[in-house]
């Protein structure tokens, strides 16, 4: 076991444990807080994969923005479901069984394949090069220029749609 592997195992244990809390806790606000721990763990995993850009994006977008607006939305829709109520459908047993089967099949398939057991070594191109390559590819007309513009359209749709749906049309109802 190298130190790196120990770090990986610790981080993934924390990530999975907090993910389990996220789906099982009754208090939805606490679930959102544990979600932040999970996201932090995933960010560390990205850093271990040397995808620095995505590790930073994970912190910035997921923790700094998505988690915050999730908390805002939770505050906006409070008081309706009390936290003592059971938060899980009646069919949760069946779902659990199905998910377990799914996970077992997945993991057994993973550990049996040869390609997948290769070891990842640190990349030798570090620093800005990979980000420069990413930026060039993103704006290359022969590369991903069109998806890049379409992503902007998607975000435009989300912005306009979200504001239109959420805006208080009558006004003055909430304080």
């Amino acid at each position: 076991m190298t130190p790196l592997q120990i770090v990986f195992i610790l981080v993934s244990l924390v990530t999975i444990l907090s993910a389990i809390f996220v789906v099982s806790l009754r208090k939805i606000f606490h679930a959102a807080l544990w979600l932040i721990v999970t996201l932090m763990g995933v960010a560390i995993i990205f850093a271990l994969l040397e995808a620095s850009f995505f590790a930073a994006v994970q912190i910035l977008v997921y923790i700094g923005a998505i988690a915050i607006i999730l908390i805002f939305a939770i505050m906006l829709t409070r008081n309706i479901m009390s936290d003592d109520e059971i938060q899980i459908n009646r069919s949760w047993g069946i779902v659990m069984l199905l998910v377990l089967i799914f996970a077992v099949i997945f993991i057994s398939q993973l550990s049996s394949s040869a390609v997948i057991s290769t070891t990842l070594v640190p990349l030798e191109f570090q620093g800005q090069e990979s980000i420069i390559a990413f930026g060039e590819g993103l704006l290359d007309p022969a590369g991903y220029a069109l998806p890049f513009e379409l992503a902007s359209l998607l975000l435009l749709g989300a912005l306009v749609g979200g504001v239109y749906i959420a805006m208080d049309k009558k006004g003055g109802e909430n304080k």
Partner: protein
Amino acid sequence: MIPLSWYLILAAVLFSVGMFGAISRKNAVAVLISIELMLNAVNINILAFWHYHSQSLGYTEINGLVFAAVVIIAAAAEVAIGLAIIIAVYRLRKTVVASDINVLKG
């Protein structure tokens, strides 16, 4: 130093946990949170394979990075719209339980 399979197993477990939450939680916000978990698991997978390919190619492979970026953009759009719908439904029908929202008419 870390085998590729470890990342994939982590992603698979995270995905399963997220799937369990997405199907079985009552609260619509919690369902959205669970979907976020699943999307994160997908991103771990994508970036692990990106690392694997970059290391075998010897230069930065960008397809994986673009894919991960699209996943994050989609996740952001999904959260924005999803929460807006939940808030609108909550305002009209005073509920956030996903199975109670069963009529299309407001």
